[in-house]
């Protein structure tokens, strides 16, 4: 394996700086965000590298659990930040976070305990990367699904209330929007499974191959990860939209859009 030097990374960073320059000249005006995000990414990953090194050395379950919770809360905050219409109060942050917790942590625990069966099961070399991959994808799915859901309910509120007036219950009047939103959250992972290995080479597998793992071993891990991501994302979206649709109605089946902001 060829170790990368700071100079190697600087050369690659030069490409991003070049892109920013072109973006400025062409008045695309994305150079600031581009450079800022690239900088932020670099800093975050360097920090992660340091943190992971400490975690791996100590292999302390409390520290690993703490790290997992930080990842969860940052993901939950991100889901919240990406919503155009947000639930008021604790629900805004809570629905996404709870759903991510339910799906990602369950799927990760299942994988560690039943599939990988490492000793100890929470060994950070497996637990943290697996959880990270699943959380990251679940986060994307839930934020797409929830955004679509609350936006659709907002746009179709008069139709929903018309159906309530005709004697539909809350579930009848919202189930088609919930289905559509679940679908839109799941489509990216379905598509990426369909084209995996042909159009795109998944990043995790690429990384393993670059670091010297035999391609076939890397492929097996990638298949595992894809299954986990798809199921974690799907169940996460379903949980989030189920809670969200309950929250949008009260005990008298009234549509309560006052529980959303914006």
């Amino acid at each position: 394996m060829i170790l990368l030097t700071p100079l190697d990374l600087s050369l690659a960073a030069g490409l991003v700086i070049l892109l920013a320059f072109v973006s400025w000249r062409m008045k695309i005006n994305l150079q600031r965000q581009l450079l800022f995000s690239a900088f932020r990414m670099t800093l975050q990953l360097i920090l992660l590298g340091l943190v992971l090194k400490i975690l791996f050395d100590l292999s302390n379950p409390i520290l690993i659990g703490g790290m997992a919770l930080i990842m969860l809360f940052v993901g939950g905050r991100e889901v919240f930040a990406r919503q155009q219409k947000r639930f008021r109060g604790i629900w805004g942050f809570g629905i996404g976070t709870l759903s991510m917790f339910l799906s990602s942590f369950t799927v990760t625990a299942f994988t560690l305990l039943v599939v990988i069966q490492n000793q100890p099961w929470f060994a950070p070399q497996y637990a943290i990367p697996l959880l990270g991959m699943i959380l990251g994808n679940t986060m994307n799915g839930i934020s797409v699904g929830m955004d679509r859901f609350s936006q659709s309910v907002w746009d179709q509120r008069e139709i929903i209330e018309q159906q309530l007036l005709l004697g539909y219950n809350s579930d009848d009047s919202i189930s088609s929007i919930r289905r559509e939103s679940t679908r839109s959250g799941l489509i990216p992972i379905v598509n990426s499974m369909a084209t995996a290995g042909i159009v795109n080479l998944p990043g995790m597998m690429t990384g393993q191959i670059l670091s010297g793992t035999s391609p076939f071993e890397a492929v097996k891990y990638q298949i595992l990860i894809m299954f986990l991501i798809a199921s974690g994302t799907g169940f996460g979206i379903m949980a989030a939209l189920w809670i969200a649709s309950k929250r949008l109605f009260d005990d008298r089946d009234r549509l309560r859009l006052d529980r959303l902001t914006g």
Partner: protein, 221 residues
């Protein structure tokens, strides 16, 4: 209980204070309190300026908005109904109907040719596209869709606002027929004083502090 005594029971209940639609101290969106009783088979018209809260009152009666106070139908409180059963029972016809599928018949659980005829359509209408209907056609179809639920009370929000004179007569006749056949209490929001004279048994004016009775109309049935 024999059939006769049961009928007698129904009749006495109908004439008693407990029956029909009863609204008690209803406050919605900081407006009210509203008090109103509509006895079975009677039509109560509500008039008032735009924004005075007439439509909000109907929404609250149908329990679409959180509110204070209580609404009773035939002596039974809204809170004792399942929400969907309550809304079926107090059929609210909004000022603007909503449609969510492409074709008319997608919105009707069953097709009642007689009912469609009464709102002025032949059976062909079931295959029509919603987006090609005029506002008036939608309004008449929305009434047919509502009556299909056999509501025990009617809450009508300007039901003839966008209809031509012939259809106004047709719809007024249909509603009168329905309420007299099933002894249905009707709350009817209107801007048309001539219409109020034609259809109302009683007439209230919507004010910020509540409903003010405007004197009984001559039409009492």
């Amino acid at each position: 209980m024999t059939g006769d005594t049961r009928n007698l029971h129904v009749i006495t209940q109908r004439s008693s204070h407990l029956n029909g639609l009863r609204i008690r101290s209803l406050i919605t969106r900081e407006k009210g309190p509203y008090n109103l009783t509509v006895v079975p088979g009677n039509c109560t018209c509500i008039t008032g300026s735009s924004g005075s809260g007439k439509s909000l009152l109907l929404r609250a009666i149908a329990d679409l908005d959180p509110h204070q106070g209580e609404v009773f139908l035939d002596g039974k409180s809204a809170a004792d109904f399942k929400p969907s059963a309550w809304r079926r029972s107090v059929g609210l016809l909004p000022a603007e109907s909503r449609w969510w599928k492409d074709q008319v018949d997608d919105h009707f659980p069953t097709i009642d040719a007689e009912l469609l005829r009464k709102v002025g359509f032949s059976l062909d209408v079931t295959g029509w596209q919603i987006n090609r209907l005029s506002t008036g056609e939608r309004q008449r179809l929305a009434l047919a869709r509502l009556l299909l639920n056999k509501p025990k009370a009617l809450l009508l929000d300007e039901p003839t606002a966008s209809l031509d004179p012939d259809n106004v007569v047709r719809i007024e006749g249909l509603i009168e027929d329905y309420r007299k056949t099933y002894m249905t209490p009707v709350v009817w929001i209107s801007h048309d004083m001539e219409q109020v004279k034609r259809v109302a048994d009683s007439h209230y004016l919507m004010t910020p502090g509540g409903l003010i009775e405007n004197g009984s109309e001559q039409n009492s049935a």
